[in-house]
């Protein structure tokens, strides 16, 4: 078990700064997920922690010890790669044994450990198979097993499930969570999969262009995104946005006027904001309600029926598409006109610079 601390980490390739000063502390046993759009520097940051990339500046501490200049193999970490990166010329047993052997562990002890891990991961029948003879899911298990046998202080995962099909990914996700609970090891996990991030993380770190946009629990990010970027990035389908004009506010809420003239009184505080300022109202698809008549009307363009739920895409008069998530049994049809009701308690309000206004009440699950 270990803590990991990043202090103003930076990485420059040639002239381009890829990681622009990231600070973060990771507690013992914590499961931290890095998410962000492609190319935002998630892998680079993970590899810096692993020791596979040099740190241009800043400090990396593991258990309070500065490890910037410590060899990757000596940092007490284990990494699972997206491509599994098993040693193709060694069988499963030897793959798991390699690190232990290098560490000078006696043969009998190695055998015991490997057999134990193989049992946990149901790899026993394949111990003498080469990676080439295994399926993707089995290879993934071997890669995880190879990490576990070394008994690392910290696990690093770089999109470990992205090469698996949807069903297997779901299964492995649950298994990994269970494994984490069982081993209780500090884990850093990179993914661009919403569901993985939301379900597995104790703490999500949202990255964009090499900077941290927000750090928080999954539900904190979901209920209280700090800015437009996080609001758009977390949640699927993504949050809807409406342009609005700020009218005025008090300690219990702020009122804004939408394009069609309707007024919303959103329970967020807006200290110092001048009436007349352009703001953005955000609301998640699952919170918008459909009505047959009323304000905010538009034309239904697409109806996606997923069984349990239905996604209704509505084109607003200003050309924007608003997605509404509703009941699976809803009768709405394309080309019809519908109205949207925006319950104020579920609305978010963003200032012109993209920052969210603070909600008057924190969500109980996101304290």
């Amino acid at each position: 078990m270990a803590t990991v601390e990043l202090k103003n980490l930076r990485k420059t390739y040639l002239t381009e700064e890829i990681i622009k000063g990231i600070s973060l502390s990771i507690e013992e046993r914590e499961f931290v997920v890095f998410v962000g759009p492609s190319g935002c520097g998630k892998s680079t940051l993970l590899r810096m922690i692993a020791g596979l990339e040099d740190i241009t500046s800043g400090d990396l501490l593991i258990d309070g010890q500065r490890v910037n200049d410590v060899e990757p193999g000596k940092r007490g970490l284990a990494m699972v790669f997206q491509s599994y990166a098993l040693y193709p010329h060694m069988d499963v047993y030897k793959n798991m044994e390699f690190g232990l052997k290098l560490a000078g562990m006696p043969e009998a002890e190695r055998r015991e450990k490997i057999e134990h891990v193989a049992r946990t991961l149901q790899l026993e029948p394949y111990l003498h198979h080469k990676p080439g003879q295994l399926s993707g899911g089995q290879r993934q298990r071997v890669a995880i097993g190879r990490a576990i046998v070394r008994n690392p202080k910290v696990f690093l995962f770089d999109e470990p499930l992205s090469n698996l099909d949807a069903a297997l990914r779901g299964q492995m996700r649950v298994e990994l969570s269970a494994l984490h609970r069982k081993l209780g090891a500090t884990t850093i996990y990179v993914t661009h999969d919403q569901v993985e991030a939301m379900t597995m993380a104790d703490k999500i770190v949202v990255l964009q262009k090499g900077v941290v946009e927000q750090i928080g629990s999954p539900l904190e990010l979901y209920h209280h995104p700090r800015n437009l970027f996080v609001a758009r990035f977390i949640g699927s389908p993504p949050m809807n946005f409406f342009p609005a004009i700020f009218q005025g506010g008090d300690s219990a809420g702020s009122s804004v006027q939408l394009r069609d003239g309707s007024i919303l009184y959103v329970p967020v505080t807006s200290p110092g904001l001048l009436p007349g300022t352009k703001v953005t109202v955000g609301i998640r698809p699952e919170h918008v309600e459909l009505a047959s008549s009323g304000p905010n009307s538009g034309v239904v363009e697409v109806v996606e029926r997923l069984g349990a739920i239905t996604l209704v895409h509505v084109r607003m008069p200003d050309g924007e598409i608003i997605v509404v998530q509703t009941d699976g049994a809803v009768l709405t049809e394309v080309e019809t006109r519908v109205s949207l009701t925006l319950p104020p308690r579920n609305c978010h309000l963003f200032a012109p610079d993209g920052l969210a206004f603070e909600a008057c009440h924190r969500h109980p699950l996101a304290a």
């Binding site: 596979l52 990757p72 000596k74 990494m79 491509s83 040693y87 390699f98």
Partner: protein, 275 residues
Amino acid sequence: MALKTKTSTRIGVTILGWGIALWLFFPIFWMILTSFKSEVQAISTPPKLFFMPTLSSYGEVFERASYWHFALNTVIVSVGATAIAVALAVPAAYSMAFLPSKRTRGTLLWMLSTRMLPPVGVLVPIYLLARNTHLLDTCTGLAVVDMLTNLPIIVWMLYTFFREVPAPILEAGRMDGATRWQEMTMVLLPLALPGIASTALLSLILCWNEAFWSLNLTSSHAAPLTAFIASFSSPEGLFFGKLSAASTLAVAPILVFGWISQKQLVRGLTFGAVK
């Protein structure tokens, strides 16, 4: 329809393949054939395809020169040069493939460009260097020159093979606690072995058949098989029977060796399925 096109294409490709193979093999075939003829048959017009084979040329060749002396020199020089070249090229190619810098590309091209120079352009300096270091007519001298001439190709080939090895596999080794040396010997080398083997084989063949430097830098003590052949090509005019017998004897070992290892060679040259 699609199937038909495919079959006809396949037949065409097969014919082309056989054509090229026969075209390439014909001189060797003719050489071996001639080596079993008498000197009179060897120069008869029209050339004879069917005749009574004789070993007389071989007998005379063995009588006139000590084949084993030359063969041993060739083996020492080619194996030595290849071993040293591969040993030097592996770390060089490793660093170029896995720790590239801005200058890697340029260095590789520059190395290859040295092969574009005709060897005769550096004959005098190399000869003088060999003479001043007392390496003229020694196996060491010839091996060093052969090694240096082949080094660029070997580095280049190994570099291409190493580039096929997915970097995360080596990184996994490093995460497992391997030093750079262990990473190279325990992870990279076993993975790239087919590539390394075919590179070494190519180097062996090039050294075996190398004639320019052998003829210029050796005379008797270290003379290899190429010099052995050359010794049958002059003074009293050409005796094609004996010349062919000498040539056949010179190329036979490497031909047989190449034949045996062709599986390895092909595997190496189509290497890449290591994922």
